[in-house]
Subunit: 314 residues, 3 copies
């Protein structure tokens, strides 16, 4: 099996073969959650720590359920109850966790690069559950899984990613992953929130990413539309004037969606702001795969936990 | 077995046969918690989510222990760490949880009707862990279980429920349940906190509920006294003058208890405010079944989880 | 096996034989955490409640991992989400937890003596996870385990404990335990934070504890140095002038450590304040056993859970 990594830090460094291994493994695990007894003994006796410095229902719950369905022991630590509040450095906290012999640590942190630092310090597998505006690899992997499930394969697809591109770890992780798999990515959003050099910043193969000036340009003929979540806290930073204004200019409505391919599917990492970046009609339409993404998230995280925590260390 | 419901939302809609099924099932599970190995494999591979929007030690812990003793995987989500703080609607949160294929979701929420709404939206069994001042069915069921255990049966018993009837989900759920099982319910408390039409509001069979003007009237000859918890936060709403005043007029003392039947048992949903709604002498007396209620709570919740999450979906 | 206690409340009351039983049992459990499948069925069907009134990553996580590796069901309760915030007395909360039939309750509380009170009220084994400035027996036991592992035995060793002796439950529990095992303890720290009568307060066999006026005196020829954590909150109480000042006068540097025996080992209960009570060079040196302490903490807690929760009640 083509997977020999210790950690999952981002999609940038993954090879096409590694990505396919993760997606194929996820496919075989997806069925487990449909059984009457939703549990396999695969990771019995393994310890998975969920270490979340930012609140999260869905990602933490998804990892916890994935761990438990693999029979692993899951331990949750949130920042508020942690030693970090006692002034201990993050590195010391990580070394301390390592000393308890976990097999994998899932970490979410507001600072980019934190998972990468930890990965160097500890033997346990580190899984990036979102590091600032940098990467969120399991989200991108579940997105790719969801697209592949519907479209057969990603090569040749036109994928529009729309919203606050600049601050989005989801956009960044997807830009790497989708282009590696042969899709073409177009990004669009408010001028203040789309880096004009995004294609060069991301640095995947030339011509695979287009920065569009208008959302309509990005949507036109798209096979997949990924809407990003508006982070209300950006409002105060005056990146854009108001939620209403945002909705008028960049919200995905049925009208705008008509510009896309007739078989276009719609995705969103959640949680959705209905009526802001996406209309309720679109969220609730047959084209929306928002809930499939969540379902697939459990399968993809089972696959990642299995590939990382299940590997035998020499 | 006479139980074909997907959800447990309240006691109002339960039939006598369904109630008896729950109580009989709880009886068989009660023994598990007395074993050296307190665990049965009944719900292995099932996922139970505890979703609590209000703080709760006893109810959440009781459900979690019940789930684990049935070998289910229990996942806790509290409101503070949840997407709800990110502005997602409750319905979207529920749909997202559903997408992770849980078998049951226990929900506590300050707004009446929230569990009922969720039950319509998701396939998982919804268990109402308390919705505002509306219902708290597992509390009423464990109360009924505790009475039945001591008294043999409920038919013909006089049950006094005393305190803040208006805001009490425990009073409401018990009023439905106890009268269905043939008990007679009398309610009493401060004038501002007892709706004079409570018997009609509850709407069970006529004559089965009496609204008393004085606590002594309710106590007289009672077989069971249920004291309700004073919610200190009501104080500021000027529903009653002070804790001391409350205690003098409505607190259950040994003197007042002497009005009841000599075999009268005393119950309280907890947490108890000693010296306010109930004196320490009463709480600690042999008549008090407060801790039996807690013990039985685990058994009743095991029964409910088993009947709901253990059913095979067609 | 020489262990017939219901509870572990402190090291003061432990006999030498009991201590050896705990350490020997921990030795046999330590290997479990090095296996590929880090789990034994020893405590299957037992319920362990972690009840933490003070935030703690390492102690709570250590107990949770210990419980899970023994196949017990672990339930976490933190003070913020608990009934205690609803005005229930601690004793009532404990009785309520007891009513759910746990096998052991680990409690951390800021008030000295709380675990001892609970132990009298409940049937479950109570494990003191730290009670104010009083005792923290599992920390002292893991410290003794770590010393024994390196030094073979404790009898005859010179152990320096340095820092805020007055407020330290770690110092107190270690003073009892180490002297029982035949080590000699010297304590030193800021004048305001070292009770001059500490040897008499602790009250172990005469001559086994020396209160030193200067840290250098305590260090000289030591086989073990235990640095205590500076609690920044003491700063405002004017017990000592500033962190910088503290570091200059009482911090463990490589220079000061040169006063100790050439084979001297360095310990710290964590979390470490680098550059305050201990320099980074010392923490990261080969002499530092800070992370061994954490690893051994899991083994020692497995042993304690096994000896207490695994005993058969008549």
């Amino acid at each position: 099996m083509a997977f020999n990594r210790k950690d999952l830090l981002g999609t940038r460094e993954l090879t096409v073969e590694e990505i396919k291994t993760i997606l194929d493994t996820a496919e075989s695990f997806k069925e487990v959650s449909t059984r009457s007894i939703k549990k396999v003994p695969t990771l019995r006796g393994k310890t998975i720590i969920n270490f979340f410095f930012e609140p999260s229902t869905r990602t933490r719950t998804s990892f916890e359920i994935a761990a438990k369905r693999l029979s692993a022991d899951a331990v949750n630590i949130s920042a508020s109850g942690s030693s970090v509040t006692k002034g201990e450095s993050l590195i010391d906290t990580a070394r301390n966790l390592q000393a308890m012999a976990p097999d994998a640590i899932v970490i979410r942190h507001r600072s980019p690069g934190v998972p990468h630092q930890l990965a160097k310090m500890v033997e346990a597998s580190i899984i990036n559950g979102g590091d600032g505006a940098h990467e969120h690899p399991t989200q991108a992997l579940l997105d790719a899984f969801t697209i592949r499930e519907r479209k057969g394969e990603l090569a040749g697809l036109q994928v529009a990613i729309i919203g606050d591109i600049m601050h989005s770890r989801v956009a960044r992780s997807n830009a790497h992953l989708l282009t590696k798999l042969g899709a073409h990515v177009r990004v669009a959003g408010p001028r203040t929130l789309v880096p004009p050099q995004f294609d060069k910043i991301v640095g995947e193969s030339e011509g695979s990413i287009t920065v569009c000036n208008r959302i309509e340009e990005a949507l036109e003929g798209s096979d997949v539309v990924m809407m990003l979540r508006i982070q209300r806290e950006r409002m105060s930073d005056a990146f854009f004037p108001s939620l209403k204004e945002y909705s008028i200019h960049y919200g995905l409505t049925l009208e705008r969606l008509a510009l896309a391919s007739p078989e276009c599917i719609v995705m969103h990492p959640g949680p959705v702001n209905r009526g802001v970046e996406i209309s309720s009609e679109v969220v609730d339409s047959a084209r929306s795969l928002v809930l499939d993404q969540v379902t697939n998230g459990v399968a993809v995280r089972m696959a990642i936990l299995f590939l990382l925590a299940g590997r035998e260390i020499d």
